[in-house]
Every structure is written in C-alpha cells, then in structure tokens.
C-alpha cells in the first residue's frame, strides 16, 4: 500500500497552492461579501487547465486523473469554498457525464469546449418536489420529430447564472418511474430555456445558485445523452463522481480553517501567553488535524478507485460523508478557537464554517450517503 503522491501530483499540488494563494485567496472575502460570481477567476482557471483536469487531451482536457482533480478542488477550497464548487460542479456534473455517456459528436461539440474552459457547465436534477427523492421528477420531455420539447423547472443549480451547457434530467416516460427519466445536453441559448431567480444562501455565496425554467424548450434529438430511460442511472453515476469533488471541497475547507487557526493561536495572547500554549488549544488542534487527515485518506482513496476504474460508489459516499462532517466540525472548532474574532468576518473562518455546511447537504445529504453505504452492506 503506497500513500506517496507521484512526482507529477506533487508538482500539481505546488502549482495549485501558488495559484490559490495568489489568485483565489485575495478574492475570497469579497465575493462572499458581495455574493459575486468570480468571472475573472474562472478565466484564469481555464487558462491553466483547472476546468478539464481528468479528461484526455484529445477532448481538450489536461490528461491528468481524478486524484489530480480532487487535489485541485481541495487546494482551491482551502482559501475559497465557492471557487472549489465552481470547478467541482463544472467538471463532475457536466463534463464528466458527457465524457462517460456522450457520443463522439457530443464529446467534440460539448466536452472539448468545456474541458478547455471555453464554456462553463452545470447540472439540473433537483426540483422543488424532487430533492433526495430524485425519482419524483416533474420536468417532462416529449419527442416531436427531430427534437424534444422540455417543460418544467429545476432549483438550486450551481453555476447556473454563468453556465453555457447544462445536463438536464427530464421524464420521457412517466409510467416507467425512474426508468422513464432521460438526460439531455441543453444549451443556455436553446429556445424556451431561461435562468430564474438566484438563491440567497448561507455559504458559498459567490457561487451562483439559480432556478432553471424550461417552457416549451426545444432540444435537438441528438442532444439526448445516453439512451431514453438511462437518465436516472446517468444521474446517480454522475453524483458518485460529484461526491469526490464535494468531499474534496469539504476537505479543503477543513484544512484551510485549520491552517488559519494554527497561525492565529500562535499570535493571540491571553493571560500573558499565546493561546497555543494552552492544552485545550493543543488538544483541539490535534483532533482537527486528525479528522482532516482521515478525510484526506478517504477522499484520495475514492479518487484513486475511480482512476483505477473499479467500483467507487461506496468509497465516494464514505469520503463525502466523512469529509463533510469533518469540515463542519473542524471549521466550528476553528471559529471557537478564534473566539469573538472568529465570529467576525475579519478572519475568514466563519466564512469557511458557513461554506462547510452545504457539503453535508448537496449532491446527496449525509443521510443519503449513509443509505448508499449501508445498502452496500446489506445487499
């Protein structure tokens, strides 16, 4: 068993860190405060290949792997949870299903510009009445000649305000239940497609989370992803991959808040000495570090399983469950150790705590992860 990163992964990590330090960290507070999507960062992410990390070069990708991708989301999220999820949603939820299920034409038309970062991607599954129970899809798609007509709406869609390409789930045969769901590649410019109101959120406030509305939206027949009826399977497999991204985001938030805390406790003085000298501080830090490192092992293991093309659904669920809960715990402790200053917006750890909460909710709540994990035990 080998826990060492390869030379290329070490060099990637070095590059991610420098990029994050110089390009991401300086904007983190501002985009949270202003709830602003960091367009300028996305351009730079594209330039350096962050938006196509695990895809082959012939499809515009960087030719790296899922571990390299997970490490990128981790490093970005150390400074800014918003930036982490922009990359994660784009890569795992939009580009990946086209790579996995798309035809050669679909890959050329959509995956190439997505992986190059010329276009930004998003994913639409959740509806007002279909959250964890994704099978309750109400968006319908009806084949009319050479195109489908989609009607319905999606909510809580990450990247929606700035995305060009969306993977949309819709019911093509209601009678078939989950087997009646199909997946479509929908362009922002398609007639009848629009982006609705933007959510006001607790955390990841720079990420543009919006509603999608389809009113007689015309989608060419060639934009069906996979076959009719495969949509639910595509969505579930896609979320398996997405969980590695979100787990990495959670891991980054935990590590980032720990790093800030280590710095702070050395500087902060109470009772005539730095609070790092108190055993309570030391014990809290030890627990935070241990939780974070355990999360890292699960996240990297899941990413490596995906790279090895072995089943990784349970590994991804465990990684996300554990990393999300670790992130919540570690960021909460980070705020506590910062005391009153931690509760102010000056030190950034309260932002990380707010950002961390969503990792227990989206792309399958912690409860859903427990269902996935236990199901594999009880089958």
């Amino acid at each position: 068993m080998n826990f060492d990163l390869s030379k290329e992964h070490l060099m990637l990590q070095e590059m991610y860190r420098k990029f994050t330090e110089n390009e991401v960290k300086p904007l983190a507070e501002e985009i949270d405060e202003e709830e602003r999507f960091p367009v300028e960062t996305v351009e730079k992410l594209a330039r350096y290949g962050f938006l196509g990390i695990p895809f082959p070069k012939e499809y515009g990708g960087a030719g790296a792997d899922n571990l390299a991708y997970a490490m990128a989301v981790e490093e970005l999220s150390k400074a800014c949870g918003t930036t982490g999820v922009i990359v994660s949603a784009h890569t795992s939820l939009c580009a990946a299903p086209i790579y996995e299920w798309g035809t050669e034409e679909q890959k050329q038309q959509y995956l190439v510009p997505l992986a190059k970062g010329e276009k930004l991607g998003a994913f639409g599954l959740t509806e007002p009445n279909a959250g964890t129970d994704a099978a309750g899809q109400q968006t319908r798609a009806v084949l009319e000649g050479d195109h489908y007509v989609l009607n319905g709406s999606k909510i809580f869609i990450t990247n929606a305000s700035n995305a060009d390409v969306f993977i949309i789930m819709a019911m093509t045969d209601k009678a078939q239940g989950t087997r009646g769901i199909s997946a479509f590649i929908v362009e922002r410019e398609f007639p009848g497609f629009s982006v609705g109101k933007k959510e006001k959120k607790m955390g990841i406030r720079g990420s543009a989370t919006c509603e999608l509305i389809m009113e007689d939206c015309i989608v060419p027949k060639e934009n069906l992803l996979g076959k009719e009826g495969q949509g639910f399977k595509i969505a579930m497999k896609t979320l398996d991959g997405g969980r590695i991204g979100i787990a990495s985001q959670a891991l980054g938030l935990a590590q980032g808040s720990l790093d800030e805390t280590v710095k702070y406790v050395k500087e902060r003085k109470q009772f005539g000495r730095s609070i790092a000298k108190f055993q309570n501080t030391q014990f809290q830090l030890a627990d935070m570090d241990t939780r974070t490192e355990a999360a890292r092992l699960l996240v990297y293991k899941a990413a490596r399983a995906k790279d090895a093309k072995v089943p990784y659904s349970k590994e991804a669920a465990m990684a996300k469950l554990f990393a999300a809960e670790a992130a919540m715990e570690v960021t909460t402790k980070a705020v506590q150790l910062h005391g009153g200053y931690g509760y102010t917006r000056e030190y950034g750890v309260e932002r990380m705590m707010r950002d961390a909460k969503i990792t227990e909710i989206y792309e399958g709540t912690s409860e859903v992860q427990r269902m996935v994990i236990s199901a594999s035990l009880l089958k």
């Binding site: 050395k266 500087e267 003085k269 730095s274």
Partner: protein, 332 residues
Amino acid sequence: MNISEYKDVLVFIEQRDGVVEKVSKELVSKGREIANTLGCKCKGALLINDINENLDELFHWGLDELYLVKHKSLGEFMTEPYAKAMTHICKEYKPEIVFFGATSIGRDLAPRVSSRMDTGLTADCTSLDVEEETNNLMMTRPAFGGNIMATIICPEHRPQMSTIRPGVMPMINKDESRPSVITEVAVPFTDADANIEILEVVKHTHELIKIEDANVLVSAGRGIGNPSKLELLGELAEKLGGTVSSSRAVVDAGWTDRAQQVGQTGKTVRPDLYFACGISGAIQHLAGMEESEYIVAINKDDTAPIFDSADLSIVGDLNAVIPELIKLLPNK
C-alpha cells in the same frame, strides 16, 4: 602565467554624465590602503567621453596615477567599448588587483573583463584584506542570501578582480597635497565595438530619499497586512525624521518600489534607528540591516526571528502600537 609580472592596484573610476561616482572614491581610498600594505601604487582607469569636473579629488583620496581613455563611444555605458578599454589597460599595465564598484555598470562590465583576462572575479564584496604570507587578496562577501560570509581568493591568476558594494568602504586618509598624474591611453576602437545602439536615455527624475542615506528607517514587512498601512508607517517616519523602507516580500507584492528594498538582493542600510514593522526577519533581510545602530522590532508573532536581532522587541499589533507611539512623539 607569471604572477610576479603583475603589480599595483587599479580602480575602475565609474562616471555618469562625466561625473565620478562616490563608490569610486571609496574604492580609491581602500585601494590606497591595500597599495600601502603591498608596497605598490594605486592607479585609476577613467573611461569617458566628456569630463565635467575636476579630477584632483581622486588623487586626494589616494591615486598615484590615472589612466584616462577619452573616446566618443565611452559616453552612455555600452559594455563592449568599456570592456575593450579596461582589458587594454589590464594587458598593457598588468595590475595585480582590479576593483570595480558593484553598481549596475560595474557588475555588467567586470565579468566581461575578467573573462577576457581569463582570471577570477569575486562579486559584491563587503570587506578586503591582504593575506600576510602570500600577499593574496582576501575578498569577503555575503553568500547564500546573506546567511554566510565567504572569503574568496584567486591564488594563481592575475589580476585579482572584485566588485565592491557601494557604501561599505570608509573614505579615509584624504591628502590634498597629492599631485594629479594623468596618463592618456589610446585604445584601438573600431566601429564594430558599438554592438548595441542606445536609442534613448531616460533619467529617473523623482528619486525618492535614498534609503541607504536615511538616518531613520521605518521598514514595512508582509505583516503590515495591506498596502494602506504604509501611510501609518509614513506618518511615523515623518515624526522621526526618516523614511519608509521595506522587505522583499512587500516589494514582491508590489506595495513598495524596488528602490526601497532592504536586504541581500536590495540595499544594505545602517541607519541610527531601524524600525522593523511586521517583518519576520528572514536572513536575506537581516543581511541588509543588521548593522543598524539601534533596531526596534514590532511583530505579532513572538517567535519571529527578527526579535533575535533587535535591540528592543515589542510583541504586539503594529496597528495598535504605532498610533500610540505617534501620539507620544513630539512634532519635528
């Protein structure tokens, strides 16, 4: 190589716009001292187009003789004509030791001349001595970002050449009775020597107060947090009658100008008072300021290495301490 053929100390007299640079006088003074130790002469080499000042002062500081090369290609500095003239003088008069100021001109020129003479060159020296038994020149310089000092010798090649930091050699033993002896030297220049074309000269008009000349420096490190804090430091500097300098990190961040950088790759300063504000004290920084007369350090991190070099250490937030100090200080 017959080493015994080489004797005397030769100082490259650097001029800009026909006016001799201060560092050259420092080197003449040092060259005089070394020539006395070795029992030889101290000579200068001035390469110039138009002379705009009286050169007697050079002799007062210790020159026995000045080689003067006057030519139209020796106006604004171009490497090749200068290198050709210096090499010509070195070959013709065979000095044992050659000094250049470690200025941008000296450090551009000296490597070319030493290479052409197939001899060694020691850069950026801060002290010079003669080894007693061998009469070799011992050239000491900071290395490894100022972390260590290294003494370099050039035992089997002549001349022994070095560039020397401006401001480190004291100007001593001025003697106004020394006569001026100027020997004009003809160098066979050709048109091909001008292998670059200077299209335009842009002189820097608004020169800031040179930090190396200031008596008090209030110096900013990364720990100031953001560039707006420089105003606070400026206010303190004004009250103390000094100016603001900074660490490399602050220059790299674009908050201050390169001309304000203290440290191994910046300026060496030795003010009466050096205020290190939010400077952690990387060795490359210490190398540029540790000779300061009195060092006050303010830093939040009580493990900051700057505290090991400071005369007075304040563990605390500079944003709180400095405004308090400004309140207490009398107006200048």
